[in-house]
Subunit: 116 residues, 3 copies
């Protein structure tokens, strides 16, 4: 059985749940004119909101892929990330450089999490 | 138990099935000299073919990661994508810019789906 | 139930296990000053080590995403990869070009595997 939430847009579902595993659609900042720290902060806020809708939370993230527009933002992104993850419950993570859908976007995250 | 299909090439299996979840190997266009719309169309055709072999279909895709050579192709890729996905059954998706194995390739997709 | 191993660093867990599926954190070379073949070799050595810790091995990899700094390294990376994977038991794979956390890193891999 597959549960899909946030299916208003035809293009993608915001949340897909299958077999106890949650797949979130790629999340970017709420305000794409902000700097890297604020973009990271509001992007992770959206992850929190989606995980809550899916009946999970940031302690149950299994894997995260972070795409960052330029590696010069790496340290500042990590500052916000490190404060956000729960000690002892952080996900497996990969972070690579990639340009995103709009030029002003500095960071995007793809998340796989567990149903609680 | 792991089922692997399309294992002719040592480098990768085209389809790997485990625990009700299907992992497809990255798919590109059938004709890499075509433009973005045609490349997206035949890439998604290959996804359909692999999902059929795996006993699934595009309504059961959980997550898709799209790599696009340049974001200038984003709108045209999405036109083909939006027509291809099933309303209310689209996957979680992320799309980032990345160069691919051969310079003429404009788009590649990585798919996780559910066994029906 | 989620099992996390290698949680010394707050930033990420090296291994996350859930529902029979293992997620490894992105692996890079042991010696980032080496050339592409040596970087690929020691990166895959680290994958072997983590999979062993997780109670699995390279025959049980489901999916791998390879990020390569420049596609000019593609053939040499594949030489090492092709010798490393087990015939008939290779994962689904995607490989795209991306710059990595440090400029000298030439290749990174993200792995999903099955618990044996």
């Amino acid at each position: 059985m597959i549960t899909r939430l946030g299916t208003e847009r035809r293009r993608m579902s915001k949340i897909v749940i299958h077999n106890g595993t949650i797949y979130l659609c790629g999340q970017v900042a709420k305000d794409s004119d902000a700097g890297i720290k604020e973009q990271t902060r509001t992007m992770l806020e959206k992850v929190d909101e989606l995980l809550m809708q899916a009946g999970s939370d940031r302690k149950h993230i299994l894997s995260a892929t972070i795409y960052i527009k330029e590696m010069k933002y790496f340290a500042e992104m990590n500052e916000v990330w490190d404060a956000w993850v729960i000690e002892g419950a952080s996900p497996a993570r990969a972070c690579v450089e990639a340009s995103l859908a709009r030029p002003e976007l500095l960071v995007e995250i793809s998340v796989i999490a567990a149903v609680i």
